[in-house]
């Protein structure tokens, strides 16, 4: 029996130790990780308005707070899925279709008329653009616009991010964003180039 006594002590100590080490580690990572925010504090949302654009209104710098938020509008699964919801709610599909364009430009052909940066997209949505893109600043709050912009970037991404939204419970006309539809559809053949996108290289 003496040979068996080792089972009583160290075995369970080891298990408890491992458990606590794992939970401790998790708590440490959890502390670093950004929690899901449902309420955007008014000062933060005011700060999110402060984008700076180049004089030609293409590209620029996002406000500091965008980095303080850990760029959640581009990388957070929750924010991206909210963006996807707004894409339907605010009627984006009526001009841009499922992302492949319609009377408005496509998001998946690699042509970003005003540049692919978040600030450009936010600015396009908030302030509108010539040739028919209306301004949404009186229809959406600024954090909603950021969420929608992040989602629109994810439609056109050639490499799917892990947190990109999946399919909707609806008729699906193209692969969902988490499967990098832009890349798939690009391989199937070039999308029609609109005349206003300039000459082919």
């Amino acid at each position: 029996m003496a040979a068996l006594s080792f089972r009583h002590g160290p075995a369970w100590l080891f298990k408890i130790g491992a458990l606590f080490a794992a939970l401790g580690m998790a708590a440490a990572i959890g502390w670093v990780r950004q929690p899901r925010e449902y309420r955007v504090d008014p000062p933060i949302s005011a700060a999110l308005e402060q984008i700076r654009l180049m004089p030609n209104t293409i590209s620029g710098a996002p406000p500091e707070v965008y980095f303080a938020l850990n760029q959640t509008y581009e990388t957070g699964g929750f924010d991206l899925s909210q963006g996807k919801r707004f894409y339907t709610w605010f009627g984006c599909a009526s001009c841009h279709g499922d992302g492949r364009g319609g009377s408005g430009p496509s998001f998946m052909d690699g042509w970003w008329l005003y540049g692919p940066s978040m600030v450009s997209i936010v600015s396009s949505i908030r302030d509108g653009r010539p040739h028919g893109m209306p301004a949404f600043k009186n229809k959406m709050t600024i954090d909603e616009i950021w969420q929608l912009s992040g989602y629109i970037k994810s439609i056109g991404a050639y490499k799917a991010s892990v947190s990109a939204p999946s399919r909707n419970d609806d008729r699906n006309t193209r692969p969902a964003e988490n499967r990098a539809p832009a890349a798939t559809l690009f391989e199937e053949g070039p999308n029609p180039v609109h005349p206003d996108q300039g000459p082919s290289p």
């Binding site: 449902y38 309420r39 955007v40 008014p42 949302s45 005011a46 919801r85 709610w89 605010f90 009186n138 229809k139 959406m140 709050t141 954090d143 909603e144 419970d169």
Partner: protein, 329 residues
Amino acid sequence: MKTSRFLFPLLVLLSGCSGGVQSALNAQGHSAVALKDLIIFIVLVCTAVWLAVVLVMAWALMRRHKRQEGEAAERKMTIAVSVAIVMTVLIVGVLTFASFLTTRSLYSGTDATVTIRVRAQQWWWQFIYDNADPSIAFQTANEFHIPVGKDVRLQLEAVDVIHSFWVPSLAGKQDNIPGRENVLTLRADKPGVYRGQCAEFCGLQHSHMAFLVVAEEEADYQRWAAQQRQAAVQPVSAEAAAGRDVFMSKPCAACHTVRGTQASGTSGPDLTHVGSRSTIAAGLLETTRGSLAAWIADPQTLKPGNNMPIVPLTSDELRQISAYMEGLK
């Protein structure tokens, strides 16, 4: 043992109609009354069975032992167990039959005079009074009226996830499931305001997805319906008129409809007659100017995670919008 401790409150509970506005025991509708009768019957039978088991157990533990061994004792035991098994089968049969009879009585009402489409969504209720004549159709949110004593047909639909429509005082629950259409027939026997609540877990604000059913006499109901068909009233005070302008120029109008104005959003509740409803935010707050202001100022603190954003407003704008909302009778 402590049998009486558990039994006593049970009997008290069943004898009186306690439990308030949202209780299966406060039955005020045709179905709910039948269900309450069934509930009382089954609970009484089951309580009796449970008592019998516990008493036999107590007796077995406490009896003085004159242990009879052998065939006779064994045979007695076998007879007792057999009788118990037969009794179980009988009781189960009776309960099944009673349940079946109640089910039949519930489904009998089919000549509904009013049909309402109930569209459940995260986290509010849309009630559409459809009509072939679109000028008579109208919709409301989180509160609907029905005529007393009439069968009302509810078509239950879900916009996003599964919800469950439940007004315990009027009828049992029925689920709203995407891609399916369920039908529930209600009949209120007495005028009154009955509270209902979503009963299937539907996400963050499942807890705050209540609604009110107002059952009223036919004349009152017709008056209400006529008033609901009207477009929104024009604001009378300067403050409310200013509030209307703020409402139209801010994101509010993109999600909400106020019939008779250019506000025609559909992702939020129809606000045409919001001032005439007794609660806002799906039963969360009583409709007063103060609660309207609190809700509009910070919906994400009152109902975290719901789909209404915090719209930046000055305090003047907030006051004006609240006045406008309150005036939308």
